[in-house]
């Protein structure tokens, strides 16, 4: 077997792999030996290619294919569904769909958005995985020529109080993972100087073996500075800027494209997790944005998964040209790297600038001012071949279509039954007050202030609405953040996230659709028109048909809801193989939504403003309890999760935006986890004033009416004297007058039934639940 790897007679490590005459078993073995994670069929395609070329491949070539053809890089299992359900969801405001999606902001400006996962590395090295997750998403947005202006982090862990003795062998405790991830986001995000303005933290047994760490970014640019992820003409120079290249992060994408087995964990720990350096990234962002603004670039792309091997191939292929690279010009962190290691290293903080020859000196000068290393390492050439040399020796020469194209599969799916009815409810609990308190201090609902305040959500001094809204010192969760990208315009961007693991596990179509419905509701709640979403899809092993069915159905739900609500999906990310010894991850679509605020002076926050103001419930409440926090509190599994009524949501969104533009809305909050009771409590806590609601008679059991998580609903406070204007704006929308702001309690009643919590007695449990769970006792 050793004879299959033949060192070429050069004074550095370079092997030829005897592939052409290899048997299927040999092929499988080679894929394993080299850590390629390619199947036998895929290896046969490689064999066939080199057979026709009449030679054996080098290790550089095989490693390149392992990267380029990984699930992570080429979406081979997911693309067929994305093409069917997601890619067609576009609007005229979509400008580009590259490393990040690019959308129109106004006539002269655009914004970029993208979200992606960093689940596998964060599960193994939580601090390092989270830091490089941020680093990666910043580069995706930067790669469009845009200045990053906001970060978001949807996080999902196992229960913080999970008993150590029950933890399956080899798994890390949620408390450790949570602490490491939050600290990583804090230490990298705060240093790099981009505000972390939104996110969510969810806890469920389904994340015990596979945490879901997603990170999203929004960027902003003059349209004239936007870049494409491609070369433009032959002669364009590849300038590698930023961090040096080392052995960290080798095979990250291949480990991310297999289950998180004990062996994979070992691989990650041995060096597949990259090392982040925010103090290289911060000046790198300046240097790249300045080069883009000055019009010095022909193209741009970030080095992420697969390193140079992916970036060079994709830039050239997208530009319809070939590429040449001299690997020995790449600046290294350490001596002794083999050419293949340089070529696939995922060392962080690197960008590839495509520069016409006459601008190279100017670009290098800009980088030098910021102390950012920058080196020309190759060029675009006519033709369709990628050729890589190391010390004069050609180490890679492949056709780009073959190399970068990658396989695409339609793998089988197996549908599972979805619950269609409400799960059987126990008798209505006698003491609803104590259940409200229990839900308010449950980790999914409790205040996330402990996390939020460790992140700098204010840097860049343009955060207009924060993640916590209300009276200073008492603020509670808002629905969306708003940032103001231009000093001299009132137009702004609203940013929100949603994720729906618990619903998706029960009914993936509804889970996907609800994620869109919820993120749009969040945006509307602050006065923004939902404009674009980007999705991160965290699912299990696509080679297992039932797992793939979850994925397909969730994608179908997302596509359908986005289309109906009129938002574009210009970018997205898929994370598969989230499986460990504890089984598959809770299937989780996470969505970053961006809305346009026409005039931020009309923005609305979630905190109640004034005693005496009227409150209205917008939308219709049904018995939607599957996956709800109420069921969780009662220990009930199953049941149908909330359905969507997209036309109704759309009409309600339009009505609310009309009302807000007219100035009649004082506060607004979306109803989601914990339903009406939790929304009312959060609004009251943020405004530090009570609320008295009376529900109209209905067939729904009172506890269901209070805790149901039906989609398409908001609780709205109107300004005194503006009620008529509100009612006019809401013509044609289903809503109900519910009561008034006032007192010191959260109180909801119907007939003789009531649920109540005094602000003074719910604030502390709600605020301190997470810090109490996090502290190591």
């Amino acid at each position: 077997m050793g004879a299959r790897y033949v060192q070429r007679s050069v004074p550095f490590p370079l092997h030829e792999i005897r592939l052409v005459d290899a048997s299927d078993r040999d092929l499988e073995r080679i894929s394993k030996d080299l850590g390629l994670a390619l199947s036998v069929d895929e290896m046969k395609r490689v064999q066939d290619y080199f057979g026709r070329a009449g030679r054996n491949p080098t290790d550089v070539e095989l490693q390149s294919l392992g990267q380029a053809w990984s699930e992570h890089c080429c979406y081979k299992s997911s693309k067929v569904f994305l093409k069917e359900f997601i890619f067609p969801v576009q609007t005229p405001d979509v400008i580009d769909r590259g490393d990040a999606g690019v959308m129109a902001f106004d006539d002269d400006h655009a914004y970029a958005l993208r979200i992606e996962s960093h689940n596998h590395p964060s599960a193994v090295v939580p601090y390092g995985g989270a830091t490089t997750g941020i680093g990666g998403i910043l580069r995706d947005v930067l790669a469009m020529g845009a200045q990053p202006i906001a970060l978001v982090d949807p996080l999902h862990f196992g229960p913080l109080d999970y008993p150590f003795e029950k933890l399956p062998r080899g798994l890390k405790h949620p408390k450790y993972l949570f602490g490491g991830v939050v600290a990583g986001i804090r230490d990298y995000g705060n240093r790099v100087g981009i505000p972390t303005v939104a996110g969510c933290v969810a806890f469920d047994d389904g994340y015990l073996g596979n945490i879901v760490v997603n990170v999203g970014c929004v960027g902003f640019a003059k349209r004239s500075q936007l870049q494409r992820n491609r070369v433009q003409e032959a002669g364009d120079v590849f300038v590698l800027a930023g961090g040096l290249t080392g052995r960290d992060g080798i095979h990250g994408v291949t480990f991310a494209s297999v289950d998180l087995t004990e062996k994979a964990v070992g691989g990650w720990e041995a060096g597949a997790v990259q090392l982040g350096d925010p103090i290289m990234k911060e000046p790198l962002i300046h240097a790249v944005v300045e080069s883009a603004e000055a019009g010095l670039l022909h193209g741009l792309k970030d080095l992420g998964g697969g390193g140079l091997s992916c970036v060079v191939g994709e830039l050239a292929l997208n530009g319809g040209l070939g590429a040449e690279v001299d690997l020995d010009t790449v600046p290294l962190k350490e001596l002794g790297l083999a050419p293949w290691e340089i070529w696939v290293s995922e060392s962080q903080e690197r960008m590839m600038l495509v520069v016409p020859p006459e601008n190279v000196a100017k670009v290098l000068r800009i980088c030098d001012l910021y102390d950012v290393p920058a080196t020309p390492i190759g060029r675009a050439v006519p033709g369709k071949t990628c050729r890589v040399r190391y010390k004069g020796e050609t180490v890679l020469e492949m056709d780009l279509e073959f190399y970068t194209g990658g396989p695409e599969y339609r793998r089988p799916v197996h549908a599972l039954p979805v619950p269609t009815k409400t799960a059987k409810l126990p008798a209505k609990p006698r003491n609803l007050d104590s259940i409200l308190l229990k839900i308010l201090k449950s980790p999914n609902v409790a205040s996330k202030e402990y996390v939020i305040r460790q992140y700098d959500h204010e840097v860049r001094a343009s955060t207009v609405l924060r993640p916590l809204q209300g009276v200073i010192g008492k603020a509670a969760h808002g629905d969306a953040a708003v940032v103001k990208p231009l000093v001299d315009s009132w137009r702004a961007l609203a940013i929100a996230v949603s994720s729906t693991g618990a619903y998706t596990a029960l009914d993936p179509f509804r889970g996907g659709a609800t994620a869109v419905d919820e993120v749009c509701r969040n945006l509307v709640a602050v006065g923004a028109r939902p404009h674009a979403i980007t999705n991160c899809l965290n699912f299990g092993n696509p080679e297992k048909p039932d797992r793939l069915w979850f994925f397909r159905e969730a994608v179908r739900g997302i596509g359908e809801a986005a289309r109906a609500l009129g938002v574009a999906i210009p970018s997205g990310n898929v994370s598969l193989y989230n499986e460990s010894s504890a089984g598959p991850v809770l299937p989780t679509p996470a969505i970053l939504g961006v809305g346009i605020v026409e005039d931020l002076r009309r923005c609305v926050t979630s905190d109640l403003k004034r005693a005496g103001d009227r409150l209205y419930l917008v939308g219709t409440t049904g018995a939607d309890l599957g996956g709800s926090e109420y069921y969780r509190a009662l220990g009930i599994d199953g049941g149908a999760p909330p359905s969507v009524d997209l036309p109704a949501t759309k009409a309600a969104m339009a009505g609310l935006l009309r009302a807000m533009a007219g100035g009649s809305v004082a506060a607004c909050h979306d109803l989601s986890h914990g339903g009406l009771a939790v929304a009312a409590a959060e609004m009251a806590l943020g405004g530090d004033v009570g609320v008295r609601l009376r529900l109209p008679p209905s067939d729904l059991r009172f506890d269901i009416a209070v805790f149901s998580e039906s989609n398409g609903r908001w609780l709205v406070e109107t300004r005194k004297g503006e009620e008529d204007s509100f009612l006019d704006a809401m013509a044609g929308v289903a809503f109900t007058a519910l009561g008034r702001v006032g007192g010191n309690d959260v109180e909801i009643g119907r007939g003789g039934e009531a649920i109540r919590g005094a602000l003074a007695s719910i604030r502390k449990p709600w605020t301190e639940a997470i810090p109490n769970l996090v502290v190591v006792s």
């Binding site: 100087g193 103090i279 001012l369 939020i452 001094a461 343009s462 207009v464 200073i472």
Partner: protein, 277 residues
């Protein structure tokens, strides 16, 4: 001097991350502000890009994590400043020109020995330290700052004594400490010299503990000046409340229009320069 003639240099190195907004907001008040890399002041750049410190009327050191702050907040930036720019800085300060440090900039000024400056314009070793917050981690939250000085500095002419400003704090190391054995004496001296400028208060104006004072700073100190009053360091970020729409509670109080609380500090510095020079 007119405001439009005031030249503001906003100094940065790698990891400084509040320079762009600081420049933008000085410009919003009509000043001629630009960001300037430390290398441009030390001559380590091509000639066309070089600048002289004396060409500026105000020097600002903005917030961020200069050089990563991996040693102690502000320590590396301060060491680089002292290494090549000691004389220029001393001349600048002794000429009475304002030096304005925000957050990490405050930490840099303390590490550089420019604040509190009891032992001279720029002391050999630091006289104080901005230590890790009592909570042990970064704190990003709105704070209320009471102007407690008698006005003997360049940064509060537009902020009457006793007025409380809303300003955003965002730091991991904001707890000012003085040598323990001399703490009382130092504090007394600072007060006599009118060097304590802002103190953290709660929503009822009391000198309260966490979270109103996010770090546990000695004597609730949020901002200090040097004895001459032209070097000023403030831990929370006035630029993050520069406009009313940046106030943390503008949807409840005051509305979104016009300048915000933080702008008064920028305006005071400009007014000081236009009156003096």
């Amino acid at each position: 001097m007119k405001v439009s003639d005031v030249r503001v240099g906003v100094l940065f190195i790698e990891g400084t991350n509040c320079e762009d907004e600081s420049v933008a907001y000085f410009r919003a008040l009509g000043a001629r502000a630009e960001k300037v890399h430390l290398k441009q002041l030390t001559g380590d750049v091509p000639k066309a890009m070089a600048r002289k410190l004396e060409d500026y009327d105000i020097l600002m050191i903005p917030g961020g994590f200069a050089a990563g702050d991996y040693i102690r907040a502000g320590a590396i930036f301060a060491a680089r400043l002292k290494w090549k720019l000691s004389k220029d800085l001393t001349d600048f300060v002794e000429a009475g020109k304002p030096v304005f440090g925000v957050c990490n900039g405050f930490q840099v000024l303390v590490e550089a020995g420019l604040l509190p400056g009891l032992g001279g314009t720029m002391t050999e070793t630091p006289e104080a330290v901005l230590a890790i917050n009592d909570s042990g981690h970064y704190e990003c939250r709105p704070t209320l700052l009471k102007q407690v000085s008698r006005g003997g500095n360049a940064f509060v002419s537009k902020v009457p004594r006793g007025r409380v400003l809303k300003v955003i704090a965002a730091h991991a190391e904001g707890k000012i400490l003085f040598p323990r054995e001399r703490e009382k004496k130092v504090l007394k001296e600072l007060l006599e010299n009118d060097q304590v400028v802002f103190r953290y208060v709660d929503d009822r104006g009391r000198y309260a503990g966490y979270p109103w004072c996010p770090s546990g700073a000695t004597y609730n100190i949020a901002a200090l000046s040097n004895p001459a009053g032209n070097v000023f360091g403030i831990q929370p970020h006035p630029e993050r409340c520069f406009f009313a729409y940046l106030h943390p509670d503008w949807t409840r109080e005051g509305g979104p229009g016009g300048l915000g609380d933080g702008s008064a500090i920028f305006q005071s510095a400009l007014s000081y320069v236009t009156r003096k020079f």
